[in-house]
């Protein structure tokens, strides 16, 4: 196992390169999902904020 980690004396190079690549993959996985969730929350807030303003219009139409 320690031989595997040592990578023939180049362990620090190999594992740093793999570690940075893994960090980039994880950031991408996290940020893409976080962005969608954030935008959906904003859309939900905007929809909720619009609702009271819209309701009277609908009831007016129904009353006509």
């Amino acid at each position: 196992m320690s031989e595997f980690l040592a990578m023939g004396g180049h362990g620090s190079y190999v594992w740093t390169a793999y570690g940075i690549t893994l960090a980039i993959l994880l950031w991408n996985l996290w940020s893409a999902g976080a962005m969608l969730r954030r935008n959906l929350r904003r859309a939900a807030r905007e929809t909720a904020a619009d609702e009271p303003a819209r309701r009277p219009k609908v009831s007016q139409l129904e009353g006509e």
Binding site: T21, M35, A43, A44, T47
Partner: protein, 250 residues
Amino acid sequence: MKLPVWFHRFGSPPWVYGFAGACVPWLLICGVLAIAIGAYWGLAIAPTDAVQGEVYRIIYIHPQTAYIGMMAYTLMGIAAGIGFIWRIKLAHAVAVGAAPIGATFTFGALITGAIWGRPTWGTYWEWGDPRIMFELLLLFLFLGYLALRAAFDDRDKADRVSAILAVVGVVNVPIIHFSVDWWNSLHQTATVMQLDDPAMDPEMLVPFLIMVGGFTLLFYGLLFRRLQAGIVERESGARWLRELVEGAAS
């Protein structure tokens, strides 16, 4: 010419949102699995390189990150061009989605290349190496595209102006690919992309290609997720989106 119905769906934001959302989990799961298998294979099973020793194992991540960056830019340029010419918002959303993914992978290619260069070439960085320089330019093109967009408050204007930069920059992608043939470079010439006779042992080529496939699947999963986010942003106030979030919020 009459276009088939399925083609028109690609212009419909709710259909594209649903289609992308259905694809994302499969793309991400298969991509992560392939990368896990490829990394284990490349690190633990593939034989040691006769010339470079163990440090060669960076070959299972460095060319892949570089290729994703180049593919992301090509896709970004084509999508931005389509959006510019035919004024298609969805195409601009694809371009915007590809930019941060491409930028981070290009950054990763530069870093993993520098780490690989130290023990094999004796240097982390070589200003005179054409491929390193054009790869650095690729990173600046991604960052420039994002910075240019951020400079405009009006999204339509940001789409149109940034699209010009995206399209012009596409010329850099073939330059990166052929730079090793056109100029003297520390980089080796094409190893895998000479399909008649790849200069790589099958025991190394298989995990190499598994990693290429895994990175590609992951890229499209990430791109589709970002495209969904872009559609939600651009479709603010649309009836289908209101119905979608009303169900989720209550």
